[in-house]
């Protein structure tokens, strides 16, 4: 039995297909349309899901949607009534989209897919909760979801047991931890619903001692935080409930200056503000999680919602709270809810027995060597074919060891926002200038941003101060851990300013070629770690097809592309070189 889950019309539209309870295909729409965080109806992602299983829409038993649109619309109307007449600009700008698309979900599904059966709608935070718990290894767990806002809920906690999830408590809009983080993101001149992770990276440059960070103390005064983790904001410091400009003038005064413009340089004040919101987020989450543990009486925790992408905090959860085990799926944000709604229908509503748990994130489009060769020949691209996989691993490891930057295109595209060794840019973490090279020549992004290390799972404890037992979700690059001090100078390109790294661990049975490559690089360099960064330029989604990968390499400072069984050298194809820098944007 096939069930299709759909998430769209807010941000990160996606589709997921499950077959007898197992996720067999899933992808975000942005990867196909090349529009980052694309919100549109995920027709390309749906078509991919169906084609990957060689089925038609008639073969799908049920389609599920990730939220209740009318409940969300009710909240939007209530906001406008409460804030009249301040929301007029947003009202005129957003209401047409509600009437044209967002309230016509069933019509869109029928028209665009030709689907004639029932469409089921489940609450947004329930879709989040299901997206993590029902594919987790736990039979019973505390469930905490936290994001900007769903219909009304911004944070919820509950219990997952067997096939069922009960969300017991909620914090309601406008009090929202996700929107607090987004407000500071906007204040620091970054784009909302996109660059929150930059604030997280920037926080390490700020004062992380709460007693010494004056902005933390000021921000804390606008939040009434209880011991049970529940919170209420002084809304005079925010405008997100009626305007697109999130911080109010009062917040700007509190933070000693106006909203930073994108082209203005970052100062220590900005770093401290980033640290302040990170500290406050961590404090609130710790209280919420401890309360969730008390309510659920479970040692196991699953999290979902955009806030669960805060990998800096994720790495501290097992140390700071009373939980012993943690699970988060690779895409805990809105994109991930398409899986959530599909598994909720199959397991909870239909009562089917849960089986296994989510291990394989390579759920997107994959390309055979034949398809890649056809692409290369058709476009007259000069390439070399590896004799076998051993040859591929040896030669690629040598290129990386000689400080070449390598685009790595293998298997199916990763599910979620992180590149996990299917659409990755790989390079040498031991080179002292590699962070600079990658930031400036390849990714065209801010110099403060760190790069992630990838390491074979067995070796992680030698290099990182990691939880014991090691959570499985380090495989999905969701946790930041301190790097052991003796390695800081040896792997400077992946050691952040505060001595941490957002590591990805890799297991042999997940991605053998990638695993062997890291191992081989370890033999050459003495350090079995690679830099793994997403295969894209700033402002673009991660590459999906061979064309995207080749175009990205030719527009950046990537030296080689290892695509399937083929090696393509940038300088061998100099007639295709272009400059991507001027197109790089947030």
């Amino acid at each position: 039995m096939y069930i299709l889950g759909i998430s769209c019309y807010y941000h990160d539209a996606s589709a997921a297909l499950i077959k007898d309870g197992k996720v067999v295909a899933a992808a975000q729409e942005e990867r196909f349309t090349r529009v980052k965080h694309d919100t549109s109806f995920p027709i390309n992602a749906i078509n991919f899901c169906l084609q990957s299983q060689n089925i038609k829409i008639e073969d799908v038993a049920l389609v599920g949607f990730y939220e209740k649109p009318l409940l969300k619309f009710e909240r939007i109307l209530y906001q406008h009534i409460e804030m009249f007449p301040f929301g007029i600009k947003v009202f005129l700008a957003t209401l047409p989209a509600w009437f044209n698309t967002k309230l016509r979900v069933i019509k869109a599904i029928r028209k665009k897919l030709g689907y004639k059966k029932n469409v089921l709608f489940i609450e947004h935070h329930l879709a989040h909760a299901a997206s993590s718990f029902l594919i987790s290894p736990f039979k019973k767990a505390a469930v905490v979801t936290c994001d900007g806002v769903g219909e009304w809920t911004t944070t919820s906690l509950g219990i997952g047991e067997g096939n069922n999830i009960t969300l017991l408590k909620e914090i309601r809009f406008p009090n929202s931890l996700g929107l607090l983080y987004s407000t500071i993101t906007a204040y620091l001149g970054f784009s909302v619903n996109n660059s929150e992770y930059k604030v997280m990276g920037l926080s390490a440059y700020g004062e992380m001692d709460p007693k010494k960070n004056k902005y933390y103390q000021r921000l804390k005064k606008i939040v009434d935080l209880n011991e049970d983790g529940s919170f209420s904001f002084d809304m005079s410091y925010f405008t997100y409930h009626y305007s697109n400009r999130m911080p109010s003038k009062k917040l700007c005064q509190l933070l000693d200056g106006p909203i930073k413009k994108a082209d203005q340089p970052l100062t220590q004040r900005h770093n401290d503000i980033a640290a302040a919101v990170q500290l406050l987020t961590e404090e609130i989450l710790t209280k919420i999680l401890n309360y969730a543990q008390k309510v659920s009486q479970s040692d196991d925790l699953v999290m979902a919602g955009g806030v669960a992408l805060n990998s800096v905090y994720n790495g501290k959860i097992l140390r700071k709270t009373t939980f012993k085990n943690l699970w988060i799926q690779p895409d805990p944000g809105d994109g991930g809810t398409s899986i959530g709604v599909a598994v909720y229908i199959y397991y909870t509503l239909m009562g089917n027995k849960r089986q296994g748990y989510f291990k394989d994130p390579y759920l997107g489009p994959a390309y055979s060597n034949l398809e890649i060769r056809t692409f290369l020949k058709k476009n007259k691209i000069k390439y070399k074919e590896f004799r076998n996989q051993k040859d591929l691993v040896n030669q690629t490891a040598e290129l990386i060891h000689k400080n070449s930057v390598v685009g790595w295109f293998q298997l199916g595209m990763e599910w979620g926002p992180r590149a996990l060794g299917a659409r990755s840019i790989l390079s040498n973490p031991c080179h002292p200038k590699m962070q600079e090279i990658l930031n400036e020549k390849v990714k065209h992004r801010e110099t403060f941003r760190p790069f992630a290390p990838v390491i074979c799972r067995e070796d992680a404890k030698d290099f990182f101060e990691i939880d014991n037992p090691m959570p499985e979700i380090t495989d999905f690059m969701l946790m930041v851990y301190p790097i052991k001090k003796k390695w800081h100078k040896k792997i400077p390109a992946v050691t952040h300013i505060d001595g941490t790294g957002r590591l990805q661990t890799i297991q042999k049975n997940q991605n053998l070629l990638y695993y062997n490559l890291i191992e081989r690089f370890g033999n050459l360099s003495g350090i079995p770690i690679l830099i793994n960064t997403s295969f894209n330029i700033r402002g673009e989604p991660i590459v999906c097809t061979p064309f995207d990968a080749y175009k990205c390499m030719m527009g950046t400072g990537i030296d080689y592309l290892v695509m399937g069984n083929f090696l393509i050298k940038r300088l061998d194809n100099s007639n295709h070189i272009w400059d991507s820098e001027k197109y790089a944007k947030d």
Partner: protein
């Protein structure tokens, strides 16, 4: 000639889109002032609030939700 006619066609489409935008904005403005505005006025007069903007100090801000599995037909609703 063909290009000329194509140009006129594109121009008319653009004109139609602009006109549509203006009309939609005017209708929405009308709805905003009459519908939203009058409801807001009545709500203010009777002290009704739709958002919890000035919540008083509470021991806990958690709200009971108790959201769990419902009858299948409930999921056919968008509310």
């Amino acid at each position: 000639m063909k290009d000329f006619l194509q140009g006129i066609k594109l121009g008319m489409v653009e004109f139609g889109n602009n006109l549509n935008g203006i009309l939609v904005s005017l209708i929405l403005l009308f709805v905003y002032i009459l519908g939203v505005g009058s409801t807001a006025l009545i709500a203010k007069l009777i002290g009704k609030h739709f958002l919890d903007l000035n919540s008083k100090k509470k021991k806990s801000y958690w709200v009971d939700l108790n959201l769990s599995k419902k009858e299948l037909r409930e999921y056919l609703n968008q509310f």
